[in-house]
Symmetry: C2
Subunit: 455 residues, 2 copies
């Protein structure tokens, strides 16, 4: 194993990963009187949240950003840390881009013809009813779990939605929520995930939904302030290479040294858990679980303009397209409107294809999307930035991991099950708001409680 100093530091709990899950676990354990260290591979905290400051001082997020109703743990934590929030810009008409045309709409019509809306309404009713029947703590025990887990969201949509317009609309929705294709996702996972966040409606709405509000100073502030409170318990640049459970105390090591602990919390993305060598090795089934939780593919793209010029045309900045790779956009301007910011997402296969482009080609592609929706002016931003989360070697994708057919029913029960004295946190382990910042916090609080209650 990697050698540390002769006398390793000793703590009650070592936490791997300083994202919201790991930091929330550290906070709860510290408050319960336990000593902790948080070992973070990167030189920053925040995991899949990451602020970026434009040259004029405007702060945006190039990772997770929004907060909305029922995300109570995220609201509570932000409030405790003195971080305010404000409504996402949601005034004006939205755009649907299809067949090369732009259709303006407001309200719930999505610019779709009545027969498609009717069909989608029925499909959504079926989806929400099915979703509500999936037990959040144990999706594998749902009625018809095996059957739902044996098909993909794609095949369910094909069977239940007849119009090509309805199908392609639902495809955009799935891609926007999962940054993966409907073909990749088990129907049982799709249903669990919707139920976990409430409903399809809640997940996709701005006002009244998961995109309702933004944090002053950027969402990464939550992690940054948490880390400030935790002080020198946070160890940046400390990738964990090995976790040994061979002795009475666990040994957690890397090229930075080693610590000893009674318990370990692993609070990193499932895709990077296999990078740690466990001794004894993880069980075969757990290894397969992580091998079957690929992350989504998303490149988040932001452009800053002198003004939010689209608002002059009565547009909200929200656009959706079934044909342009930049399939979803939002107005991400600062609260005071001192400049205009558009944010757009290259998700799933669009992201993968765009990752093969060079930086200039990718920028051109994204600005072409903004210009298609909001006019030629959008081609000339003052600043541009994009973030390909798959390129982050300690994270490897966004928004979160998704489960294909057969995974929930055959491996799902392992997600939160400790392996020896190693416990598991992270947004993907949360029954509530799975995959979201709120779910990450809940998972950290849950794992802390699990350890506090351990004999």
């Amino acid at each position: 194993m990697v050698q540390g100093p002769l006398i390793a530091e000793r703590v009650d709990v070592a936490i791997v990963g300083a994202g919201l899950a790991g930091l929330s676990a550290a906070k709860a354990l510290t408050e319960a009187g336990r000593s902790v260290v948080v070992l973070e591979a990167q030189d920053r905290v925040g995991g899949r949240t990451l602020n970026h400051t434009f040259s004029d001082g405007t702060v945006i997020e190039i990772g997770g950003q929004w907060v909305g109703p029922t995300q109570d743990r995220l609201y509570a934590l932000a409030a405790e840390l003195g971080i305010e929030h404000y409504p996402t810009w949601d005034q004006g008409e939205n755009l649907l881009h299809r067949d090369g045309k732009l259709i303006r709409y407001s309200g719930e019509t999505f610019g779709l013809p009545a027969y498609v809306l009717a069909e989608l309404g029925v499909a959504q009713w079926r989806i929400d009813r099915l979703a509500a029947s999936v037990p959040l703590e144990a999706p594998w025990s749902a009625a018809k779990a095996e059957r739902l887990d044996s098909e993909t969201a794609a095949s369910w949509i094909r069977r239940n939605v007849r119009s090509s317009l309805g199908r392609s609309f639902l495809r955009v929705i799935v891609e926007a929520v999962f940054s993966a294709e409907p073909e990749d996702i088990s129907m049982l996972h799709f249903l669990f995930y919707l139920h976990s966040g409430g409903s399809l409606d809640l997940l996709t709405r701005t006002a009244g939904g998961a995109q309702e509000s933004r944090f002053v100073g950027g969402s990464q502030q939550v992690s940054i302030r948490l880390a400030e409170r935790l002080g020198d318990a946070i160890r940046l640049g400390s990738p964990v290479r090995e976790i040994s459970q061979r002795s009475e105390r666990l040994s957690i090591g890397g090229e930075w040294g080693a610590v000893e602990a009674d318990r370990v919390v692993v609070a990193i993305a499932p895709a990077v858990i296999p990078r740690i060598s466990f001794d004894p090795p993880l069980s075969g089934r757990r290894a397969h679980l992580y091998a079957k939780m690929p992350p989504g593919y998303v490149i988040k793209c932001s452009a800053r303009y002198e003004r939010p010029f689209w608002r002059d045309q009565g547009l909200s900045g929200q656009a959706g397209s079934a044909t342009h790779p930049l399939a979803v956009t939002f107005d991400n301007s600062p609260r005071d409107g001192s400049c205009g910011v558009l944010v757009g997402f290259l998700e799933g296969s669009h992201g993968r294809r765009a990752s093969a482009l060079n930086a200039e080609q990718r920028r051109d592609l994204v600005l072409d999307g903004f210009a298609t929706y909001f006019g030629e002016q959008a081609r000339r931003p003052l600043e541009y930035i994009d973030q390909d989360w798959a390129e982050e070697e300690w994270i490897r994708g966004g928004y979160g991991a998704h489960l294909g057919p057969g995974v929930w029913t055959q491996y799902g029960h392992l997600l939160r099950e400790p392996e020896g004295r190693v416990h598991w946190a992270g947004a993907e382990t949360s029954p509530v708001w799975n995959g979201y910042m709120d779910g990450a916090i809940r998972s950290g609080e849950r794992v802390a409680e699990e350890i506090i209650q351990s004999p």
Copy 2:
């Protein structure tokens, strides 16, 4: 990074993994005058081939074992190394176990009613015709590649086979070939894989197919003798933790030290590639490729008896069941019939479920399978051994990795594409006999040629 000695050993090519792929690459490169080291994490060579010697000296394989027609590179290498082969026992009648009954059959009837055979005949004709149209070097360029890659083998079977008996028969076949469920496998991958080995018929046959012959002394002999030739170029117990391409020469390191090389060949299972830290990190797309190549789940189970008693009843030892977890068995007795050996497989979900049992329960389950097919005598073997490949921390599953929907078309071109001066081998990279020992050897020879031809 992990520190090695001050002056690291220098070679032309460092090879990661001493399975058939890595060893074949080492052989070809050595013969071309290149200096190599082969860095193997385990304390043995052979990868997914592994011999076991029973107490009476009978050698069996608890990993890959068979060789058959068109596996020319495996035959040639074995011949060169002086390893003989002999026909798999294939006399007597086979058994189909269904609805609690045993049906004896011989020839191609599989014990199935004529209407099912007719239906399966049509399905097989369609499958083989489709498979033949998938270009082995570039499955993503097949006609209708996107469409074939958007569905699973399960949904294709459901659409093309109507009888429940026909469906469940094909399910057993798919599980036996892939050690994964039809739901897990992209139809494009299914077709590519069949074409890669010739046809469904060739893959599943004993005489005249991929299970035709066995090696004297066990298949691991091929790797063992190759390693003997390569001498001290083989380094056991040397897990590679980091590959750095930052300098003119590549640095390959671990707790055992470090070597420097002009080129690196990575010849390990896709599931464990993410355990290596690459500097610079692997591209996001390649990281996703491996995150989307989960291994199959297989537990190979062998029981030794005083005599091959089933032969007295005119049985071949080959049984198939759509209901018992031990779905496929063979007579694996030594050539001279000095004792009787039955081998059976717990594949896919059967394997996963069995992995949760304790050793005794699992043995009972397996012996119950043998006894169901061959009589109560089978419950009392002289010796029993099973091997759960998912538990092997440097391999993590068998027989090989499979590709779900969307992976071939979106990532497939990366499989053999070098990343900088890092080249990729392994059975999963081979156009011919992908996933088999023969494919592994071909991949090693191909990667050696790739390096020899590099500027």
